[in-house]
């Protein structure tokens, strides 16, 4: 198999696989009723996945070779705090970005 063919195989398999994962429940279950205990778990999907996704990126940023970085840590705290207090995603993003650049400059 040539290198180009191999890459095509990877692209197509990843495309089909990613779509399969995204379609898994939407496609198979559709509008059938799900039991209450399943729904109860699903209500927490977002808060159970996103913080876990972010935590290692905050604590061990690749840009610093995995070393905890005060500028990034404080930016993360500011973003989370502003988002929690104001419930405003945009305000949180801009405060976090401002904290990051201030931190990189001064810390």
């Amino acid at each position: 198999m040539s290198e180009s063919t191999t890459i095509w195989v990877i692209i197509i398999a990843m495309g089909l696989g990613s779509f399969g994962l995204r379609f898994l429940f939407l496609g198979v279950i559709g509008d059938r009723e799900m039991p209450e205990w399943v729904l109860r778990h699903l209500r927490y999907t977002a808060v159970a996945v996103l913080p876990g996704l972010v935590a290692p990126l905050v604590l061990w940023p690749a840009a610093t070779g995995g070393q905890p970085d005060p500028a990034r840590l404080s930016a993360a705290l500011v973003t989370l705090g502003v988002g929690y207090l104001t419930k405003n995603v945009l305000a949180a993003i801009f405060s976090g970005a401002a904290a990051l650049f201030l931190g990189l400059y001064f810390l």
């Binding site: 696989g17 927490y44 996945v49 996103l50 840009a63 989370l80 405003n88």
Partner: protein
């Protein structure tokens, strides 16, 4: 044919999705640059971003390909990074599962971190939304993001030189996710789920194929459900 078009919800979704252009832009561009530098021709770089639309998985694949990992390992690892999409799909099903199959397929194709997080936040905030309103909001939220993901990849592939490190673009992704997590922490159950998720993700970060995140996700969901049930019982007592 039923109509799923609701103008005001589409545009509200669009407005909420717009800031994420600032994130997908640099991220997509970075992928274009790195993939081109790794020697992929333009058509393959673009196919990656159009067929897969998952930055983290795409970077994983590139990295492993550069390390000459066996093809099967590349595919399996990159898909493992995307396992969280199956959780998103399950979480969207009570809201959008009643759509016709081809529309559900479209939703599935465009189910990414941003469109998922925005929509689930909106659906929880306004439980009275109809199917048409929910569908239009989702479509609106993804509308500014997806084209810019393709476009940014193209620009990155064509420009082909690194973005200066001083922009600290690596942190654009964590910041937008953190900004979305803040408003989601509405109850004790949500906070507990998030805390357990963080602890587990850090504890199990050593697991291969990003499986630590899946452990964190399942543990977090169980925690949320458990605390919710306990709070309810206490209220009834």
């Amino acid at each position: 044919m039923a109509s799923y078009w609701d103008r005001s919800n589409f545009w509200r979704g669009f407005r909420d999705g717009l800031p994420f252009v600032l994130v997908v832009g640099p991220f997509g561009m970075l992928f274009g640059v790195v993939a081109t530098e790794a020697g992929l021709p333009l058509v393959q770089v673009m196919s990656f971003s159009i067929v897969v639309i998952a930055g983290a998985a795409q970077f994983t694949a590139l990295q492993l390909m550069a390390d000459n990992a066996p093809t099967l390992v590349v595919i399996a690892s990159a898909l493992a990074v995307n396992l969280r999409m199956a959780m998103y799909s399950a979480s969207m099903t009570p809201h959008l599962g009643a759509l016709p199959a081809w529309r559900r397929a479209l939703v599935a194709y465009s189910l990414v971190d941003q469109s998922y997080a925005l929509s689930v936040m909106e659906y929880e905030k306004r439980p009275e939304m109809t199917l048409a309103q929910k569908t239009s909001y989702f479509a609106g939220a993804i509308a500014p993001v997806l084209p810019n993901w393709y476009l940014a990849t193209l620009v990155g592939a064509l420009v082909g030189q690194s973005i200066p490190d001083s922009f600290a673009l690596d942190f654009a992704v964590p910041i937008t996710f953190l900004a979305m997590i803040g408003p989601m922490l509405r109850t004790k159950a949500h906070v507990a789920a998030a805390v357990v998720s963080v602890i587990c993700a850090l504890l199990f970060a050593f697991l291969p194929w990003n499986l630590g995140l899946i452990v964190a996700g399942i543990a977090g969901m169980m925690t949320g459900a458990f605390v919710e049930l306990r709070t309810e019982n206490k209220d009834m007592a």
